[in-house]
């Protein structure tokens, strides 16, 4: 298929080169008389492709290792007997290859003839028409007739006809498997090339597919014979669909709509991996999303969310017109944009006149683009005249900002994702990558299958601990809330056994501070043995893990919200940084400290100055020089005092000093802890402006609703967990009329600002002008290079894949003493269990998007995971409705009995508003940043027969608050 692609593809070649690229010494050979030089280990097929010669092929594709089964790619090589397969034959110096000759032509024709003899000839009506490699190859080899016929009296010898001409059923035929909501498997078209099986193994690492049977009987199977795609281990990543050369595995959207005619490269709006995609279009309709081969975060892979879960963009719940109301008990009124913005501006200015300049604020979202976020914080600082701006990153990664800032001097992951290919020992702590960061997990699993070792530190037995062909060397199943004790014990072992990298520490870190730190961790009270009772981690296992990490080669640490969302979140981040410095694991590929960011633009939201104490680029508002710089660009004085953080805003609202909020793309009522307190804060405000795609839970308390645009409908950039600035491109016009940055600009102007941005690229230019680490970033540069990792400036014009290579950003790395302090949240007789929370693969965050897609087939409700022992004690059976109560509140949901959680620990997700897991979570928070302690709540679980009173009241209030008056004629 010929794609029309934006940006134009001259900067990267999208052809299928047949086999993966290699690195190695140059080798020169001759192919059809042309001299070609390629790295050692390259296949003859790829070498030919480099020279512009496409050897026919079926079982090879460049995302997979060569397999050599179809024999369509045979060539002649001087001095070698027979006709070797070019995909499996590596190049050799001086080799002389001929890709065409009478004999190879004959072989290829014969191969195709065999394939086509067992393939239906309904190309014209086939869903892959125009996008089928079998079709292409039949053409390429000049297949003109098929001489094979069914043997006499032998019945049907094919897989594609349901019945023979006398109406007898064909035992070889299988009906289509349509169980997966997004793709279908039509066995009648399969050529058994094995590409799908290999994609599932090599690219995705799930091993859901096998080839069952032999010879003529062999066919692709989703595991056990009874399994259909949906019931199998398949995680619906789509890698097999992408790899399939025929219509056998095909997107349902393509079956329905036909092949796309243009493609736009853009970035996934779900998790912090930040996968690049081609949005393949027909007119303004999205046909499918295909992971972009040259996307540096994902290298052509994706997960079920990014590839398939875009249906929310056209969901009927989407609000497309602005709405207002005087009181939250009133129904919504649809009005014009001017009226809505005028209403909002007047209310906000009125509140400031009555309650003071600091009585209003904004919340930016990690789901929005950098440009949008930058504008929203600028709205607070330059138009409201205060620093009341915070971001939902407050509730996830604010401790990363503080902890890494204190130790290394900058708040960001140190590596790129490619780095995992060079790692030898990986610690995954407080993260569940196979669910939360699936594409990173696939890349990690690939490295683990190649021999790297894994240490998992998590209360739950997450999938990585043991799954197909992956097994953790050590799983340290700690009690929730004891991260600091465990990481400090690891450091204890390393220091007391003399396993640290002293040369690195002497050269790169502050030696005096190291002395203090070493004395601290060496204290016997930090030994694994002394902490065993507290942490629940067997000391021998912990010692082994520490030794492995210190001596096993390149060591990398990946962590998630299981680290940050604790009373000691910031301390744990520092302890992780200590561990990396201690073992010299910084500043080169394969090592580092890598926060896995939950949402797509958490990194960007932090970079863009969303936090109330710092301007873009992590510069504190107290610094005169920084304020002066922004004053010179913005033309207004900037407040030198930090503003309110989200929890502080809500507290101030309850106290009556905070009255107005502009909340963009964020659902604080569902996502923030202690729902009742959030609801009370929102209810106390006089003007809540919600800017979102849907009437989310927060909107139940809103006075103004501004409809938002999806990532498909606007230009901008997202910055992923590896600091990579990726372009988001408008593939269709905003259905609500305006891109989100335009809406913020209109609101600012309605409040008296005089902004005149014509395009997000101008916002990026302003970011580059004011923020040193972005100085070299512009849309032109991004167009040229595809993406860059900040810092990108004069010193690093191509960006910075690895941080702290020759020295830390702050100069010397700082070791910080990390004393374990127990959280105040303690179990007791009333609340004897510890609740911890997380997410699952198919759903995302509060679920506003994914719940409005077919992904619900995998997760239609939040469940409470409970250990069989705890369940039995309470008389709870699988699937029972249970009541979950903490000192904050209670809710009810269904139980799932599993030993993935330890006795004493229960676990749930927070994707569904009717569960409201955050009614249970408390207002305890990280000591340094107020990041809420989602991961530890003392609870009790008991049988129940239905929704709690709160759930019922809430549902009633929500139904009431969501009424929309029919538009006036």
């Amino acid at each position: 298929m010929k794609d029309f692609i934006i940006p134009p593809m001259d900067w990267k070649d999208e052809r299928d080169m047949g086999t993966p690229a290699k690195v190695g010494a140059p080798v020169t050979l001759s192919i059809d008389g042309f001299d070609v030089t390629v790295p050692e280990g390259t296949s003859v097929m790829r070498a030919a492709a480099e020279a512009g010669i496409q050897v026919p092929k079926l079982c090879a594709t460049d995302s997979l290792d060569a397999f050599g089964s179809c024999r369509l790619c045979v060539v002649e090589i001087e001095g070698r007997r027979g006709t070797p397969a070019s995909c499996t034959t590596p190049v050799a110096p001086g080799m002389v290859v001929r890709t065409q000759s009478d004999s190879v032509r004959k072989i290829r024709k014969g191969v195709m003839e065999l394939y086509i003899s067992d393939h239906p000839l309904d190309c014209l009506t086939c869903s892959a028409n125009g996008d089928c490699e079998l079709q292409d190859m039949a053409g390429a080899v000049g297949l003109r007739d098929v001489r094979y016929t069914a043997p006499d009296g032998g019945g049907l010898a094919n897989h594609f006809a349901a019945r023979n001409t006398s109406g007898e059923a064909n035992p070889e035929w299988r009906p289509k498997d349509d169980s997966n909501p997004y793709f279908s498997y039509d066995a009648s078209k399969c050529i058994v090339c094995n590409r799908c099986v290999r994609a599932c193994e090599e690219v995705q690492g799930t091993f859901a597919l096998t080839i069952e049977g032999r010879g003529f009987d062999s066919r692709v199977s989703f595991g056990a014979k009874t399994d259909d795609a949906l019931a199998s281990d398949c995680v619906s990543c789509g890698a097999c669909v992408q790899a399939c050369p025929t219509a056998t595995l095909q997107e349902k959207s393509v079956i329905e709509m036909g092949t796309p005619d243009r493609a736009v490269v853009t970035t996934c709006a779900y998790c912090g991996v930040g996968c690049s995609f081609k949005a393949e279009m027909q007119g303004d309709q999205l046909v499918r999303m295909v992971p972009y081969k040259h996307g540096k975060a994902n290298r052509g892979h994706s997960c079920v969310k990014g590839r398939f879960a875009y249906g929310y963009a056209s969901h009927k719940d989407r609000i497309l017109n602005p709405m207002i109301r005087d009181r939250i008990s009133d129904p919504w009124r649809e009005v014009s944009w001017d009226e809505a913005l005028g209403f909002a501006a007047k209310k906000m200015r009125g509140i400031q006149a009555e309650y003071g300049q600091k009585s209003i604020g904004v919340i930016t979202s990690s789901r929005c683009t950098n440009e949008e976020t930058y504008l929203v914080q600028k709205l607070a600082r330059a138009v409201f005249g205060n620093n009341n701006t915070d971001t939902c990153a407050r509730v996830c990664h604010s401790p990363t900002g503080y902890g890494l800032g204190q130790t290394f001097g900058t708040s960001a992951g140190t590596q790129d994702f490619d780095s995992v290919e060079h790692t030898d020992v990986v610690i995954v702590i407080g993260a569940n990558p196979t669910d939360g960061h699936p594409v990173f997990a696939s890349r990690l699993k690939k490295r683990l299958r190649a021999g790297a070792k894994l240490i998992v530190i998590d209360p739950r037995r997450i999938d990585l601990v043991k799954s197909a062909h992956v097994k953790a060397a050590h799983h340290l199943p700690l009690r929730p809330g004891t991260n600091v004790a465990v990481v400090t014990a690891l450091a204890h072992v390393i220091v007391t056994e003399g396993l640290m990298d002293e040369a690195f520490i002497r050269e790169r870190c502050d030696w005096d501070e190291f002395q203090d730190y070493a004395a601290f961790v060496s204290d016997p009270r930090h030994s694994p043995e002394a902490n065993e009772l507290l942490t629940g981690v067997p000391s021998a296992e912990l010692r082994e893990a520490a030794r492995l990490f210190a001596t096993g080669g390149n060591g990398a640490i990946y962590y998630g919200l299981g680290v940050t969302e604790h009373s000691q979140g910031s301390t744990t981040v520092m302890s992780i940084a200590n561990l990396a410095m201690l073992t010299g694991n910084l500043g080169r590929p394969g090592v580092g400290v890598n926060p896995l960011r939950g949402q797509n633009n958490v990194q960007g939201a932090c970079d863009m100055g969303s936090f109330p104490h710092e301007l873009p680029g992590y510069r504190h508002v107290k610094n005169d020089d920084v304020r002066d710089l922004f004053k010179s660009v913005w033309g207004v004085e900037i407040d030198s005092e930090p503003g309110l953080r989200i929890p502080n805003m809500l507290d101030a609202a309850v106290d009556g000093t905070f009255k107005g909020l502009y909340c963009q793309g964020e659902d604080i009522l569902q996502s923030d802890p202690d729902t009742k307190h959030v609801a009370a804060g929102l209810a106390a405000m006089e003007c809540v402006i919600v800017h979102d795609l849907f009437l989310n839970e927060t909107a139940n308390y809103a006075h103004v609703f501004l409809p938002g645009s999806t990532f498909l409908e606007k230009d901008g950039t997202f910055t992923n967990a590896e600091r990579r600035i990726n372009r988001v491109r408008e593939v269709m016009k905003p259905r609500n009329g305006y891109a989100d940055w335009e809406i913020t600009q209109k609101l600012a102007n309605a409040m008296g600002a005089n902004w005149s941005y014509m395009h997000p690229s101008q916002i990026m230019d302003e970011i580059a002008l004011t923020t040193p680490s972005f100085a070299g970033v512009s849309y032109t540069v991004l167009e040229e290079k595809g993406s860059v990792q900040w810092p990108c400036n004069e010193a690093h014009p191509d960006g910075t894949p690895l941080m702290h290579v020759d020295g830390f950003v702050r100069g010397k790395g700082r070791f910080i003493v990390t004393e374990y302090v127990a959280t105040d949240e303690k179990t007791g007789p009333r609340f004897p269990l510890l609740l911890t929370t997380g997410r699952i693969l198919s759903q995302y965050n509060v679920g506003a998007q994914t719940r409005r897609t077919e992904n619900v087939v995998w997760h239609e409700a939040d469940l409470l995971e409970i250990h069989p022992h705890d369940a039995e004690n309470r008389g709870i059976n699988e699937g029972d409705y249970i009541k979950l109560a903490s000192r904050s509140g209670e809710t009810s949901l269904r139980a799932k009995i599993t030993d993935r959680v330890s006795p004493g620990v229960v676990y749930t997700t927070f994707h569904h508003p009717d569960t409201q897991a955050n009614v249970i979570t408390t207002d305890y928070s990280d000591w340094a940043t107020n990041c809420p302690e989602y991961k530890v709540t003392a609870v009790q679980v008991s049988p129940s027969n239905g929704p709690s009173e709160w759930q019922e009241d809430y549902a009633a209030q929500a139904a009431q608050a969501r009424r929309i008056l029919p538009a006036a004629e």
């Binding site: 107290k622 005092e641 503003g643 953080r645 502080n648 309850v654 004393e819 000591w927 340094a928």
Partner: protein, 67 residues
């Protein structure tokens, strides 16, 4: 914010800096609070200290004078 919550937040900060090797905990608590707490919150803390500072870590009481 409720006094209990403020006391808890302030004490948490003191608890961290008390564990640090250098002897300047009150100054560091004060600077943390000035960097991250909005003026309203700092005023509430100072008022609370004036009124006796019930439940506050002594380091916080010293720090409050420096904010």
């Amino acid at each position: 914010m409720s006094p209990e919550k403020m006391v808890r937040m302030a004490n948490q900060i003191a608890t961290f800096f008390k564990t640090q090797p250098k002897e300047d905990a009150p100054a560091r608590v004060a600077s943390h609070i000035t960097d991250f707490w909005e003026p309203r919150m700092r005023a509430q803390l100072r008022d609370y200290v004036e009124q006796g500072g019930d439940g506050l870590d002594p380091i916080v009481v010293q720090a409050a004078r420096l904010t």
